[in-house]
C-alpha cells in the first residue's frame, strides 16, 4: 500500500503551512542568540554592565525546584559564563537551522529543551504573563515542529530526506533511535 493511499484526504495538512511556525520559533532563538553572541558581545562579558548573568539572579525568588541549580551556577562565575555562552550559541544554531530548515527535527528538540529550561523565569511578567506565554508557545511550537519534520518542505532537509530518507540520531540506541534528525 503506498503512502498516498494511507492518507485520509480530510486529515492531511501540507507542510508548507507550517513554515510560519518554523520561522517564528526559529527567529525567536536566532534573534536571542545573535543579540548575545554577535550583535552585543558585552552581554556575555562578566565584567560588563550588560552581562546577562544578572538576569539569572532575577529568576531566583520563585524559581522553585530550579533554585539550587541557579544558585550553583551564579556562585561559580566560570560556570555561569560558560553556561550562558554555550546556551547563546545553541540558541543561535537552533534558530538558524529552523529558519533554513536544516536538521529541523533535531533543532526543534533543542528548541523544546530551551523552552522548558526557561521555566524558572515563567513567573516574571510585570505587565502580563510575559515569560510564561513565551515559554508555553515555544514549547508547543517546538513539539509541533519536532513531530511534523517541517524542513522537508521549503527547507534544506528536502535534500537530506531525498538522499538519505528518515534518519534517527542513532539507529540501535534506545530513545536516540526515536529522535529524528530531519
Amino acid at each position: 500500500m503506498s503512502g498516498k493511499e494511507l492518507l485520509n484526504p480530510g486529515n492531511s495538512t501540507r507542510l508548507e503551512y507550517l513554515w510560519p511556525v518554523r520561522f517564528a520559533v526559529g527567529w525567536m532563538y536566532l534573534d536571542g542568540g545573535l543579540r548575545k553572541a554577535v550583535l552585543k558581545p558585552a552581554k556575555l562579558d562578566p565584567n560588563s554592565s550588560s552581562f546577562v548573568g544578572g538576569k539569572l539572579v532575577n529568576f531566583l525568588p520563585h524559581a522553585g525546584p530550579f533554585k539550587p541549580f541557579l544558585l550553583m551556577t551564579l556562585e561559580n562565575k566560570s560556570l555561569d559564563v560558560t553556561f550562558l555562552t554555550v546556551f547563546s550559541y545553541i540558541e543561535l544554531l537552533v534558530g538558524l537551522f529552523l529558519v533554513i530548515g536544516l536538521l529541523s527535527r533535531l533543532a526543534s528538540l533543542g528548541a523544546l529543551a530551551m523552552a522548558v529550561g526557561f521555566a524558572p523565569a515563567y513567573w516574571l511578567g510585570s505587565t502580563c504573563e510575559d515569560e510564561w506565554q513565551i515559554g508555553a508557545l515555544l514549547t508547543a511550537g517546538s513539539i509541533t515542529l519536532m513531530l511534523a519534520a517541517p524542513g522537508r518542505v521549503l527547507g534544506l532537509d528536502y535534500f537530506l530526506y531525498k538522499k538519505f530518507g528518515d534518519r534517527p540520531l542513532a539507529k540501535n540506541v534506545p530513545i536516540l533511535k526515536w529522535i529524528k534528525l530531519w
Binding site: G54, K55, P61, H62, D80, W123, S126, G135, A136
Partner: protein, 166 residues
C-alpha cells in the same frame, strides 16, 4: 488506533499538562486566586543585628527583594526604627550617608545592591546584600521594630524585623 494518533495524543497531553501546570504554578491561572509575583516589589530583612559603638549605633541588615519587576530594582526610601516609646526615621539621604559598608551576596552578579540619596536602599530582584550602618544616635537598650518603607506599595508589604540592642 494508528501510531500517529497515539504519538499525537501523548504529546498533546504533555503540552497541555505543561502549559496548565506551569501557568498554575506561576500565576494561579487555572484554579484558585490569581497571582503575579512580579508586579510589586517586596523587600525582606533576612538578618538584623544592632550594637552600640563609640560614635552611635551600628545596625547590620541583610536585605533582599523577593517579588517585583525584573527591569528595575526596588527602593527602600525610609528606615524606621521604633518601639513603644521612641521612633527614629532615617530618610533616603540619611540611609545613604550612614551606610558605611555593603557586602554583596555571592550570587549577586553585575547588578549590585547599593544605596543612594534619592532611593535609599536599592535592591535588585533576587539579590541580597548586607548593609552596615553607623547611625549617629545612641539608642537605649531594648527591642526595636525595623521597617523599610517601599514607596507605592501597601504598608503590609513593607519589610519588617525585630532587633534587640543589649
Amino acid at each position: 488506533m494508528d501510531r500517529v494518533t497515539i504519538v499525537a495524543i501523548v504529546f498533546s497531553i504533555l503540552v497541555a499538562g505543561w502549559i496548565l501546570g506551569t501557568g498554575q504554578w506561576a500565576y494561579g491561572n487555572v484554579v484558585g486566586t490569581l497571582v503575579n509575583n512580579s508586579k510589586l516589589p517586596k523587600l525582606q530583612i533576612t538578618y538584623a543585628k544592632m550594637t552600640s559603638t563609640g560614635n552611635g549605633t551600628e545596625l547590620i541588615l541583610n536585605i533582599t527583594d523577593v517579588d517585583g519587576p525584573d527591569a528595575y530594582p526596588a527602593s527602600g526610601t525610609m528606615l524606621i526604627i521604633s518601639n513603644s516609646t521612641y521612633t527614629l526615621v532615617l530618610n533616603s539621604s540619611q540611609v545613604a550617608h550612614d551606610t558605611v559598608k555593603i557586602i554583596q551576596a555571592p550570587w549577586n552578579e553585575n547588578k549590585k545592591d547599593s544605596v543612594n540619596w534619592y532611593s535609599g536602599f536599592v535592591i535588585v530582584l533576587g539579590s541580597e546584600a548586607q548593609f552596615h550602618l553607623i547611625i549617629p544616635v545612641h539608642l537605649s537598650p531594648g527591642t526595636y521594630k525595623l521597617t523599610i518603607v517601599t514607596p507605592a506599595v501597601s504598608q503590609s508589604r513593607w519589610a519588617t524585623a525585630s532587633v534587640t540592642l543589649s
